[in-house]
Amino acid sequence: MVNPNVEGKKYPATEPYLVGREKIREFARAVMSTNPVNTDVFAAQAAGYTDVVAPPTFAVVIQERSLAGVLADPEADIDFSRVVHGDQRFVHNRPIVAGDELVSELSVAKVASLGAHSMITFETRILDAKGEHVCTAISTLVVRGD
Protein backbone atom coordinates (compact mmCIF):
# COMPACT_ATOMS: atom_id res chain seq x y z
CA MET A 1 0.00 0.00 0.00
CA VAL A 2 1.13 3.54 -0.75
CA ASN A 3 1.85 5.48 2.43
CA PRO A 4 -1.15 7.86 2.82
CA ASN A 5 1.05 10.28 4.77
CA VAL A 6 2.80 11.38 1.58
CA GLU A 7 -0.36 13.21 0.50
CA GLY A 8 0.64 16.86 0.25
CA LYS A 9 4.35 16.06 0.09
CA LYS A 10 6.40 18.23 -2.26
CA TYR A 11 9.49 16.90 -3.95
CA PRO A 12 12.57 18.99 -4.82
CA ALA A 13 12.63 20.59 -8.27
CA THR A 14 14.43 18.57 -10.95
CA GLU A 15 17.57 19.72 -12.73
CA PRO A 16 16.74 21.87 -15.78
CA TYR A 17 15.79 19.89 -18.90
CA LEU A 18 16.84 21.48 -22.19
CA VAL A 19 14.22 20.72 -24.84
CA GLY A 20 16.04 19.81 -28.03
CA ARG A 21 14.68 20.27 -31.55
CA GLU A 22 15.56 16.71 -32.53
CA LYS A 23 13.96 15.37 -29.34
CA ILE A 24 10.72 17.08 -30.29
CA ARG A 25 10.98 15.68 -33.83
CA GLU A 26 11.67 12.19 -32.47
CA PHE A 27 8.69 12.39 -30.11
CA ALA A 28 6.46 13.79 -32.87
CA ARG A 29 7.35 10.85 -35.15
CA ALA A 30 6.71 8.40 -32.30
CA VAL A 31 3.15 9.73 -31.79
CA MET A 32 2.59 9.76 -35.56
CA SER A 33 2.18 13.50 -35.85
CA THR A 34 1.79 14.94 -39.33
CA ASN A 35 1.60 18.52 -38.06
CA PRO A 36 4.44 20.62 -39.56
CA VAL A 37 4.84 22.87 -36.48
CA ASN A 38 6.22 19.79 -34.65
CA THR A 39 9.05 19.22 -37.11
CA ASP A 40 9.54 22.16 -39.46
CA VAL A 41 11.17 25.28 -37.99
CA PHE A 42 9.81 27.51 -40.77
CA ALA A 43 6.26 26.24 -40.30
CA ALA A 44 6.56 26.78 -36.55
CA GLN A 45 7.88 30.32 -37.04
CA ALA A 46 5.15 31.08 -39.56
CA ALA A 47 2.66 30.08 -36.86
CA GLY A 48 4.28 32.50 -34.42
CA TYR A 49 6.59 30.24 -32.44
CA THR A 50 10.32 30.66 -31.89
CA ASP A 51 11.10 27.05 -32.82
CA VAL A 52 9.41 23.67 -33.33
CA VAL A 53 6.48 22.99 -30.99
CA ALA A 54 6.24 19.88 -28.83
CA PRO A 55 3.22 17.58 -29.30
CA PRO A 56 0.52 18.01 -26.59
CA THR A 57 1.74 14.99 -24.57
CA PHE A 58 5.47 15.78 -24.68
CA ALA A 59 5.44 17.05 -21.08
CA VAL A 60 5.33 13.39 -20.02
CA VAL A 61 9.11 13.37 -20.62
CA ILE A 62 9.51 16.04 -17.93
CA GLN A 63 6.92 14.43 -15.65
CA GLU A 64 8.79 11.12 -15.88
CA ARG A 65 11.91 12.72 -14.42
CA SER A 66 9.96 14.05 -11.44
CA LEU A 67 8.18 10.76 -10.91
CA ALA A 68 11.48 8.91 -10.73
CA GLY A 69 12.16 10.81 -7.50
CA VAL A 70 8.90 9.67 -5.93
CA LEU A 71 9.26 6.07 -7.05
CA ALA A 72 12.70 6.02 -5.41
CA ASP A 73 11.36 7.56 -2.18
CA PRO A 74 11.20 4.88 0.56
CA GLU A 75 8.62 6.95 2.45
CA ALA A 76 6.12 6.72 -0.45
CA ASP A 77 6.65 2.94 -0.63
CA ILE A 78 5.49 2.45 -4.23
CA ASP A 79 6.13 -0.96 -5.79
CA PHE A 80 6.75 0.04 -9.41
CA SER A 81 6.21 -3.52 -10.69
CA ARG A 82 2.57 -3.18 -9.57
CA VAL A 83 1.95 0.25 -11.06
CA VAL A 84 -0.69 0.82 -13.74
CA HIS A 85 -1.32 4.25 -15.28
CA GLY A 86 -4.84 5.31 -14.32
CA ASP A 87 -5.27 8.70 -15.91
CA GLN A 88 -3.26 11.58 -17.29
CA ARG A 89 -3.86 15.23 -18.08
CA PHE A 90 -1.79 18.13 -19.36
CA VAL A 91 -2.91 21.71 -18.85
CA HIS A 92 -0.80 24.14 -20.85
CA ASN A 93 -0.32 27.81 -20.19
CA ARG A 94 1.75 27.85 -23.37
CA PRO A 95 3.16 25.11 -25.60
CA ILE A 96 6.64 23.72 -25.01
CA VAL A 97 9.05 24.74 -27.77
CA ALA A 98 12.61 23.72 -28.65
CA GLY A 99 15.10 25.72 -26.63
CA ASP A 100 12.99 25.76 -23.48
CA GLU A 101 14.84 24.97 -20.30
CA LEU A 102 12.31 23.40 -17.98
CA VAL A 103 12.26 22.44 -14.34
CA SER A 104 9.46 20.55 -12.67
CA GLU A 105 8.09 20.56 -9.16
CA LEU A 106 6.07 17.55 -8.17
CA SER A 107 3.63 17.28 -5.32
CA VAL A 108 1.39 14.44 -4.22
CA ALA A 109 -2.16 15.73 -4.61
CA LYS A 110 -3.98 12.68 -3.30
CA VAL A 111 -3.55 9.17 -1.98
CA ALA A 112 -6.64 6.96 -1.88
CA SER A 113 -7.49 3.30 -1.39
CA LEU A 114 -9.79 1.33 -3.62
CA GLY A 115 -10.17 -2.10 -2.07
CA ALA A 116 -6.71 -3.67 -2.07
CA HIS A 117 -5.42 -1.09 -4.55
CA SER A 118 -3.90 2.31 -3.88
CA MET A 119 -4.32 5.34 -6.08
CA ILE A 120 -1.84 8.16 -5.99
CA THR A 121 -2.29 11.42 -7.89
CA PHE A 122 0.67 13.65 -8.71
CA GLU A 123 0.74 17.20 -9.90
CA THR A 124 3.87 18.26 -11.74
CA ARG A 125 4.25 21.98 -12.32
CA ILE A 126 6.59 22.68 -15.21
CA LEU A 127 8.31 26.06 -15.26
CA ASP A 128 10.61 27.73 -17.79
CA ALA A 129 13.98 29.40 -17.16
CA LYS A 130 12.20 32.64 -16.17
CA GLY A 131 10.20 30.74 -13.57
CA GLU A 132 7.00 31.13 -15.58
CA HIS A 133 4.42 28.38 -15.63
CA VAL A 134 4.37 26.40 -18.87
CA CYS A 135 2.31 23.32 -18.10
CA THR A 136 0.89 21.26 -15.26
CA ALA A 137 0.86 17.49 -15.71
CA ILE A 138 -1.59 15.56 -13.55
CA SER A 139 -1.18 11.82 -13.31
CA THR A 140 -2.85 9.08 -11.32
CA LEU A 141 -1.09 5.78 -10.81
CA VAL A 142 -2.91 2.71 -9.57
CA VAL A 143 -0.77 0.41 -7.42
CA ARG A 144 -2.27 -3.08 -7.48
CA GLY A 145 -2.67 -4.75 -4.10
CA ASP A 146 -2.52 -8.49 -3.36
Partner: protein
Amino acid sequence: MTHINIASLEVGQEIGSREFHLTRDSLVKYAGASGDFNPIHYRDDFAQAVGLPGVLAHGMLTMGVAVQVAVDWVGDAGKVVDYGVRFTKPVLVDAADGAIVTVTGKIGEINADAGEVRIDLTAVFADTTVLGKAQARVRL
Protein backbone atom coordinates in the same frame (compact mmCIF):
# COMPACT_ATOMS: atom_id res chain seq x y z
CA MET B 1 -2.94 26.38 -41.56
CA THR B 2 -6.61 25.65 -41.11
CA HIS B 3 -8.94 28.54 -40.46
CA ILE B 4 -11.99 27.42 -38.57
CA ASN B 5 -15.00 29.63 -38.09
CA ILE B 6 -16.27 28.85 -34.59
CA ALA B 7 -19.77 30.08 -35.48
CA SER B 8 -20.06 27.36 -38.11
CA LEU B 9 -19.43 24.51 -35.65
CA GLU B 10 -22.03 22.32 -34.00
CA VAL B 11 -21.86 20.13 -30.93
CA GLY B 12 -21.73 16.49 -32.00
CA GLN B 13 -20.13 17.28 -35.35
CA GLU B 14 -17.38 14.87 -36.36
CA ILE B 15 -14.05 16.63 -36.96
CA GLY B 16 -12.04 13.70 -38.24
CA SER B 17 -10.96 10.13 -37.87
CA ARG B 18 -7.65 8.32 -38.23
CA GLU B 19 -6.49 4.75 -38.08
CA PHE B 20 -3.18 4.17 -36.27
CA HIS B 21 -1.30 0.97 -36.93
CA LEU B 22 0.75 0.34 -33.79
CA THR B 23 3.47 -2.26 -34.26
CA ARG B 24 6.24 -3.48 -31.98
CA ASP B 25 8.48 -1.02 -33.83
CA SER B 26 6.11 1.80 -32.85
CA LEU B 27 6.40 0.77 -29.20
CA VAL B 28 10.19 0.68 -29.30
CA LYS B 29 10.27 4.11 -30.97
CA TYR B 30 7.91 5.51 -28.36
CA ALA B 31 9.95 3.98 -25.54
CA GLY B 32 13.04 5.77 -26.83
CA ALA B 33 11.26 9.05 -27.48
CA SER B 34 9.52 9.16 -24.10
CA GLY B 35 12.04 7.44 -21.84
CA ASP B 36 9.50 4.84 -20.69
CA PHE B 37 11.43 1.57 -20.91
CA ASN B 38 9.05 -0.64 -18.96
CA PRO B 39 9.68 -4.11 -20.53
CA ILE B 40 5.94 -4.90 -20.63
CA HIS B 41 6.01 -2.74 -23.76
CA TYR B 42 8.54 -4.85 -25.67
CA ARG B 43 9.06 -8.27 -24.01
CA ASP B 44 6.38 -10.98 -24.18
CA ASP B 45 8.07 -13.14 -21.56
CA PHE B 46 8.19 -10.24 -19.12
CA ALA B 47 4.58 -9.19 -19.81
CA GLN B 48 3.38 -12.76 -19.27
CA ALA B 49 5.41 -13.12 -16.07
CA VAL B 50 3.47 -10.20 -14.56
CA GLY B 51 0.13 -11.67 -15.60
CA LEU B 52 -0.53 -9.81 -18.85
CA PRO B 53 -1.66 -11.57 -22.03
CA GLY B 54 1.30 -10.10 -23.93
CA VAL B 55 3.06 -6.88 -24.87
CA LEU B 56 0.89 -3.79 -24.42
CA ALA B 57 1.16 -0.37 -26.02
CA HIS B 58 2.15 2.41 -23.63
CA GLY B 59 -1.05 4.11 -22.50
CA MET B 60 0.80 7.34 -23.22
CA LEU B 61 1.38 6.25 -26.82
CA THR B 62 -2.34 5.68 -27.32
CA MET B 63 -2.99 9.04 -25.66
CA GLY B 64 -0.34 10.69 -27.84
CA VAL B 65 -1.65 9.37 -31.14
CA ALA B 66 -5.32 9.96 -30.26
CA VAL B 67 -4.86 13.71 -29.86
CA GLN B 68 -3.40 13.89 -33.38
CA VAL B 69 -6.97 13.84 -34.70
CA ALA B 70 -7.61 17.13 -32.85
CA VAL B 71 -4.19 18.49 -33.92
CA ASP B 72 -4.85 17.63 -37.58
CA TRP B 73 -8.17 19.43 -37.40
CA VAL B 74 -6.94 22.63 -35.75
CA GLY B 75 -3.69 22.56 -37.76
CA ASP B 76 -1.39 23.59 -34.89
CA ALA B 77 -0.22 21.30 -32.07
CA GLY B 78 0.34 24.37 -29.87
CA LYS B 79 -3.38 25.09 -29.75
CA VAL B 80 -4.27 22.08 -27.62
CA VAL B 81 -4.35 23.78 -24.22
CA ASP B 82 -5.78 21.02 -22.06
CA TYR B 83 -5.86 17.30 -22.76
CA GLY B 84 -6.77 14.46 -20.45
CA VAL B 85 -7.68 10.77 -20.69
CA ARG B 86 -8.39 7.77 -18.51
CA PHE B 87 -6.70 4.51 -19.41
CA THR B 88 -9.57 2.06 -19.33
CA LYS B 89 -8.49 -0.92 -21.48
CA PRO B 90 -5.08 -2.14 -22.65
CA VAL B 91 -4.02 -2.29 -26.31
CA LEU B 92 -2.44 -5.68 -26.95
CA VAL B 93 0.15 -5.42 -29.72
CA ASP B 94 0.65 -8.63 -31.65
CA ALA B 95 4.30 -9.32 -32.61
CA ALA B 96 3.43 -9.96 -36.27
CA ASP B 97 0.27 -7.94 -36.92
CA GLY B 98 0.49 -5.10 -34.42
CA ALA B 99 -2.74 -3.42 -33.40
CA ILE B 100 -5.10 -1.04 -35.14
CA VAL B 101 -6.41 1.82 -33.02
CA THR B 102 -9.13 3.89 -34.66
CA VAL B 103 -9.63 7.38 -33.29
CA THR B 104 -12.61 9.62 -34.00
CA GLY B 105 -13.06 13.19 -32.83
CA LYS B 106 -16.29 15.07 -32.24
CA ILE B 107 -17.11 18.53 -31.00
CA GLY B 108 -18.13 18.12 -27.36
CA GLU B 109 -18.60 21.74 -26.35
CA ILE B 110 -18.24 25.18 -27.91
CA ASN B 111 -17.14 28.22 -25.93
CA ALA B 112 -17.38 31.05 -28.44
CA ASP B 113 -16.44 33.76 -25.89
CA ALA B 114 -13.15 32.06 -25.07
CA GLY B 115 -12.64 30.99 -28.71
CA GLU B 116 -12.28 27.41 -27.54
CA VAL B 117 -13.88 24.09 -28.31
CA ARG B 118 -13.71 20.78 -26.54
CA ILE B 119 -12.97 17.80 -28.76
CA ASP B 120 -14.15 14.44 -27.46
CA LEU B 121 -12.01 11.60 -28.75
CA THR B 122 -12.98 7.95 -29.04
CA ALA B 123 -10.18 5.41 -29.40
CA VAL B 124 -11.21 1.89 -30.37
CA PHE B 125 -9.08 -1.25 -30.48
CA ALA B 126 -10.63 -4.67 -31.30
CA ASP B 127 -14.17 -3.26 -30.96
CA THR B 128 -13.42 -1.93 -27.48
CA THR B 129 -13.01 1.66 -26.35
CA VAL B 130 -9.58 1.94 -24.74
CA LEU B 131 -9.57 5.55 -23.48
CA GLY B 132 -12.17 7.03 -21.19
CA LYS B 133 -13.17 10.69 -21.07
CA ALA B 134 -10.56 11.59 -23.68
CA GLN B 135 -11.09 15.32 -24.06
CA ALA B 136 -8.93 17.98 -25.65
CA ARG B 137 -9.63 21.68 -25.21
CA VAL B 138 -8.49 23.48 -28.34
CA ARG B 139 -8.03 27.22 -28.87
CA LEU B 140 -9.09 28.40 -32.30
